[in-house]
């Protein structure tokens, strides 16, 4: 028998019971769509969290004195910073960098004292590396007030009960471990998607901070932004120094780990959905075989060999999956693209998301390779599911089956 005939019979068999086949196809379509869409939401949330972390404080690479991150000792400044900066200037994949002083201190007003990280920055450099300047909800970014301006997070501003032009006293120690209290005036208030960050970080001008702590010309941190995230490792490898050079995933291992395990997680998640679909396919195809006992018995009686009967049932299942999988993937692409542009408003759980550094509007995204892999996974799962009914068809005794009611 020609393959074409077998394909024709299998195809027509699929449409013998249009309602049943349509339900199976619809269930596969919805299953794939639901799986891919949730995967896209998860990937979108994760991407945003990563992007927000890189944009607000991490950047792609940071350089520190090896001892600095252990206890944030202000004396542990970067050694040979001039040479490093000269090298970085020549690297084509470095988009921008920012030199920082980083001090642990206390922000005080009449309403309270809160522990903060004080970042002494060059505003023009910093705004090329981080997006804080674009996240201002009030005021300006350290270029209006001539003396001791400060930019603080909205959450901290609420806690300290300050507004633009209010005074905030920063307490910290200088290089001689003398406690210093200096008054700053609020020039800007920012709000990122990460409320914890907003609460614990303040930005002042390097030129204001360095002389006070006697660290002029010295830096605790150089943050580097590459032309794209893929260039992170190559750029890191080009930096030759005794200082500690770390990439974003080394600085925030939880982010790197999430990113690395995301694909595995997505596949496991989709696998669970497909497993549930398998049972549906097995059930439907088993019904289709048992309903056609007499016909299959006839085929076996007249001399159709069992391999062809087996192939016919497998093909029927494969056809269902071949219709459903592309439809499910196309529907997914359409909705994921749409919500990738429009975003999904999750403001009802926005506070919870912000505490994890995520925006309350999630933009769905999914790597293209996942669409292909999920389509293949669906087809493979359908074939595995077809084995049970196909095997059942082979077990029929033709003499009994032709008389089955």
């Amino acid at each position: 028998m020609r393959m074409k005939t077998l394909l024709t019979i299998a195809w027509r068999n699929v449409w013998r019971n249009k309602l049943r086949s349509s339900i199976v196809i619809a269930s596969i379509v919805v299953g794939i769509w639901a799986g891919l869409f949730i995967m896209a939401m998860t990937a979108g949330l994760n991407d945003q969290r990563l992007k927000s972390s890189i944009d607000t404080y991490l950047s792609h690479i940071q350089i520190h004195n090896p001892g600095f991150l252990e206890d944030f000792d202000k004396k542990d400044t970067i050694t040979g910073s001039k040479t490093i900066l000269n090298d970085i200037d020549t690297m084509s994949h470095v988009k921008a960098y920012s030199k920082r002083l980083v001090l642990q201190g206390m922000a005080s007003t009449a309403h309270g004292n809160y522990g903060v990280k004080i970042l002494g920055i060059y505003p023009k450099e910093e705004e090329k590396v981080t997006a804080i300047s674009k996240k201002l909800v009030q005021g300006t970014y350290l270029h209006k007030l001539k003396r001791n301006p400060i930019v603080i997070g909205e959450k901290l501003a609420h806690k300290l009960d300050v507004k633009i032009n209010s005074k905030v006293v920063l307490n910290f120690q200088d290089s001689g471990n003398n406690t210093i209290a200096t008054s700053f005036r609020v020039e800007g208030i920012f709000k990122t998607v990460n409320s914890s960050f907003d609460e614990a970080n303040v930005f002042v001008k390097y030129d204001d901070l360095a002389p006070i702590v006697d660290l002029s010309g010295k830096y605790h941190e150089i943050a580097i932004l590459c032309t794209n995230v893929e260039e992170t490792l190559p750029v890191k490898n080009q930096i030759s120094t005794d200082n500690l050079v770390e990439t974003w995933d080394e600085l925030a291992p939880e982010l790197g780990y999430t990113q690395k395990t995301m694909n595995n997680f997505l596949y496991i998640f989709m696998g669970i959905i497909l497993l549930a679909l398998t049972f549906g396919i097995v059930n439907t195809m088993l019904m289709a075989v048992l309903e056609r006992k007499r016909e299959i018995g006839m085929l076996l009686s007249v001399g159709m060999d069992r391999r062809k009967v087996f192939a016919m049932i497998m093909l029927e299942t494969l056809f269902l999956a071949m219709i459903a999988a592309p439809l499910g993937v196309l529907l997914s692409i359409w909705t994921i693209e749409y919500f990738g542009l429009q975003g999904i408003d999750l403001s009802s759980v926005g506070k919870g998301l912000q505490s994890f550094g995520m925006d309350s509007r999630v933009y769905t995204t999914l790597p293209a390779v996942l669409y292909l892999n999920i389509t293949l996974m669906t087809l493979i799962v359908a074939l595995i599911a077809a084995l049970v009914p196909a095997r059942r068809a082979l077990q029929l005794n033709p003499a009994e089956a032709v008389k089955a009611i």
Binding site: R294, M298, S301, V302, G303, K403
Partner: protein, 230 residues
């Protein structure tokens, strides 16, 4: 020449249990080429079991079955499937046409299994449709035809591969008088003109009356074997 020959066939169902049934009890039968034979008997007499064994669909516990002098019980499973395909035509009580194929495709289906060319199949199908008087039903699917028409298509399908003989299990059980008469006319004509051997099990007196040989079974044995002149 014997097309079918069985020797001392024994078949027991539920052997050793309380509900043991001796379906065939040492049955021997020979059928010659061109016969038009009815196997008759009450339910449980062993008619269907005999047909299943002759058709290579079932195996006896003991005895021999020769078709064209080939011992079909000696054949391997795959050889037996191919033997059925090349040598035996089947007509079933419930027609058992493939619902998704039209009349023409149903008839040609067996020849497709035999890897015949499209031209050969088309020519043979046309010839058979004429033989069963359904040329104008060629493109209809089974659900668009009456029971009688479906069974005539089933007979045409059984003959498509030019089998050595046709086994028909209660072929008229689901048909009205007119359809039964039409079907018997066709089977008789094919038997007389083309010399096709027909063996059918039946309860139907109308079929029994038209058969030229009537083999009566009871309790797995032949109790009468009569040649009739119609």
């Amino acid at each position: 020449m014997n097309v079918i020959k069985t020797e001392n066939l024994k078949k027991v169902y539920n052997e050793g249990k309380g509900n043991e049934v001796r379906a065939l009890n040492g049955l021997s039968l020979a059928i010659e080429k061109g016969e038009f034979t009815a196997i008759v008997g009450p339910s449980g007499s062993g008619k269907s079991t005999l047909l299943n064994i002759i058709g290579g669909l079932d195996k006896p516990h003991s005895g021999n079955v020769f078709v064209n002098e080939i011992d079909i019980l000696e054949l391997e499973e795959n050889e037996r499937i191919n033997f059925r395909l090349q040598n035996i035509g089947f007509v079933f009580q419930a027609y058992n046409l493939i619902p998704v194929l039209n009349a023409k495709e149903n008839i040609g289906f067996i020849m497709l299994l035999q890897h015949e060319s499209k031209e050969t199949i088309d020519a043979r199908v046309e010839e058979l449709l004429k033989s069963v008087g359904l040329e104008n039903q060629a493109l209809k699917r089974p659900n668009e035809m009456s029971g009688g028409q479906q069974q005539r298509i089933a007979v045409a399908r059984a003959l498509a591969s030019r089998p050595k003989f046709v086994l028909a299990d209660e072929p008229t059980a689901n048909l009205d008088s007119k359809s039964t008469s039409d079907l018997l006319d066709i089977m008789e004509q094919l038997n007389e003109k083309e010399g096709i051997t027909f063996v059918f099990s039946t309860h139907d007196q109308r079929v029994i009356d038209r058969a030229r040989r009537v083999v009566t079974m009871e309790d797995g044995k032949i109790i009468a074997d009569i040649l009739q002149s119609n």
